[in-house]
């Protein structure tokens, strides 16, 4: 395999509350420390545009990339790149939400236009919210809107009344007088998962890459949580880098279930709920043409050998192995 005997790797990340630790870990030399420990070189690259970072990963430009569980399925896995969710960093617990200027509940969206990034987790969140309210997507109009402009259009354009978005944009949107949150991801806990995904072949050939990344991640987790001055300083730096302040960042963290303990992440990965979630996700993807071969087009492997979809086309794998090493202090 081409992935053999590599010692230098490139990892991409983009700005989001659950991924800011990667930037901090790179800036502080934590990644370098762990890479050195395993005799590797790891370059951590920040990319403005989230989708572009995943596309680059899918095209082979990076060995690993941060993304959500849904995007991991619909972009690299569908694109034939066998990917492994190395670290489950967090799940959105209110970080994604539906906000409206006029409607009071999800049912009030009937017939309206909703602005969101189409085919993203926002779209998924809306679909799940509608399902809960006994509606379907055809009951309203989805307007694809770039995430960079959602805040601007919601706060300033009268014809944009309802948006679905994520933090920190969600906080900006909610700060608008008269804005109501109709639904958020805390009502579907554990379904929008943020993770570090690496190429399965690369990982198989270089397990040390997984160890180094996992080690760096949990060291950063330990550093940034709590009220110690070092933790405050770390979170302040992350806040600044994502364009907000400590209070804003902490507010975002509050609506994120960050697995700062590796053991919690292992438990989450092993729970049977993960299979249910992925089933929801793949059904949504198939409904929206992202899995053109049907729900079963891509095989998903879960810990403990459970599989969803086509077993001969396993492209997305969840594993607790590396997080477990961290939990056991074996790195």
């Amino acid at each position: 395999q081409a992935a053999d005997a590599k010692t230098s790797f490139r990892i991409a990340w983009s700005i989001y509350v659950g991924w800011m630790p990667w930037g901090y870990a790179a800036d502080q030399g934590i990644v370098k420390k762990w890479a050195d420990k395993y005799g590797l070189e790891i370059e951590v690259v920040q990319i403005n545009d989230y989708i572009e970072s995943i596309n680059q990963y899918t095209a082979g430009g990076f060995d690993g990339c941060v993304m959500t569980n849904m995007d991991a399925l619909t972009i690299p896995a569908v694109g034939g790149v066998d990917s492994t969710a190395l670290i489950i960093g967090d799940f959105s617990n209110g970080n994604d939400g539906i906000v409206s200027k006029t409607a009071k509940d999800v049912a009030g969206l009937k017939g309206a236009s909703v602005n969101l990034v189409e085919l993203s987790v926002s779209h998924y969140l809306l679909a799940r919210a509608l399902e809960g309210a006994g509606m379907a997507e055809r009951d309203l109009t989805v307007v694809n809107t770039s995430d960079a402009d959602l805040v601007a259009v919601f706060t300033s354009t009268p014809d944009v009344e309802h948006v679905v978005t994520w933090n920190p944009l969600l906080a900006e949107v909610l700060a608008q007088p008269g804005a109501t949150k109709l639904f958020d991801s805390s009502q579907i806990p554990g379904e929008i998962i943020d993770m570090m995904v690496v190429n399965s072949e690369t990982l198989a050939a270089n397990p040390d890459l997984g160890k180094a990344l996992t080690g760096a991640w949990y060291e950063t987790m330990a550093l940034m949580t709590g009220d110690a001055p070092a933790a405050i300083e770390a979170r302040t730096a992350m806040a600044k880098a994502s364009g907000t302040d400590l209070a804003g960042f902490d507010a975002q963290l509050a609506s994120t279930r960050l697995f700062d303990q590796a053991a919690d992440a292992v438990a989450f990965t092993l729970s049977p709920d993960l299979a249910t979630t992925m089933d929801h996700v793949r059904k949504f993807s198939a409904d929206h043409g992202l899995l053109q071969g049907g729900v079963d087009q891509v095989g998903i492997e879960l810990p403990g050998g459970q599989q969803l979809g086509d077993p001969s086309n396993l492209k997305l794998r969840f594993t607790e192995a590396y997080m477990k090493l961290a939990a056991d202090g074996a790195l």
């Binding site: 596309n55 034939g80 997507e137 055809r138 109009t141 307007v143 300033s156 014809d159 944009v160 492209k315």
Partner: protein, 273 residues
């Protein structure tokens, strides 16, 4: 005798000229096919350089089958939506170009008032002020049309103004000796004489117009060629993106050709210029 002639004096024959013209295209296609084959044999799921058959499939799915969600034939609704926006934007910009350009170029007072403003406006990158546009014009069709107008109108205005100043002074003087008022000169002399140049300006502006259309559609839309490209970019669907790019290129090419033809037929007198 012809063998030793300078390269600058050597012209290809008709047939070999056509062959030469086709060569780079054939080379590009071959290059693509080889690249695609290489990537696909390494990873059959690869989406970056799909096989030609995938293009056919993807486009026939969009063009010949109704979308189950909306019941539309997406390829055609995308095309219609984009062409409408483009047409409106270009038409409005052309009108502004004609009116303001003529005024600035012909009337020294109008020039003194608006020339520096236009010079500055034409330097503002429209993409940087997108948020302001949305705020002023909303997120609907209007904003997309306005983006095109803002993107190309300053150029057209300045181009027309420049050309109006280039009109042979003799013809303007002569009109005055024929008793024409400023308004009549505008209407019957400068206006008609500038039209072929306006068409030329529009042809130059079509490229940027497409650019702004795509940028506008990338930001907020429910249909359109640019919308589709940026939407399917989410899952790297090059089997849709590449045919769409080819289609846009073809449309742009046909528009350019049509304008050139029409201008030559309608303004035959301006041909030699």
């Amino acid at each position: 005798m012809a063998t030793a002639r300078r390269f600058i004096n050597r012209r290809p024959q008709r047939g070999s000229g056509l062959l030469l013209a086709a060569a780079p295209f054939v080379a590009l296609i071959l290059l693509y096919l080889i690249g695609s084959d290489m990537r696909l044999s390494a990873n059959p799921g690869d989406k970056l350089l799909p096989a030609p058959s995938s293009f056919v499939e993807a486009i026939s799915a969009l063009a010949l089958q109704a979308d189950p969600r909306s019941g539309n034939y997406l390829f055609w609704t995308d095309t219609a939506a984009s062409l409408l926006r483009l047409g409106l934007g270009v038409a409005i910009a052309a009108l502004l170009g004609l009116v303001f350009g003529l005024a600035i170029g012909l009337f020294p007072y109008a020039g003194a008032l608006l020339d520096p403003l236009m010079a500055v406006l034409s330097m503002i990158p429209p993409l940087a002020i997108l948020p302001i546009l949305f705020i002023l014009f909303g997120l609907g069709e209007l904003a997309k049309v306005v983006l095109i107008v803002i993107g190309i109108a300053p150029f057209l205005i300045r181009d027309v103004a420049f050309r109006a100043r280039e009109l042979p002074e003799e013809l303007l003087i002569k009109a005055q000796t024929l008793g024409a008022s400023s308004w009549q000169i505008l209407l019957r002399v400068a206006g008609p004489m500038i039209l072929p140049r306006l068409i030329g300006g529009i042809r130059l502006a079509l490229g940027p117009a497409w650019l702004f259309l795509i940028a506008g559609e990338a930001i907020a839309a429910t249909e359109g060629l640019g919308y589709r490209i940026f939407l399917v970019r989410r899952f790297l669907a090059m089997d849709v993106i590449l045919p769409y790019v080819a289609w846009i290129t073809l449309l742009a090419f046909l528009m350019d050709l049509a304008l050139a033809r029409w201008s030559r037929a309608r303004f035959a007198w301006a041909a030699g210029r």
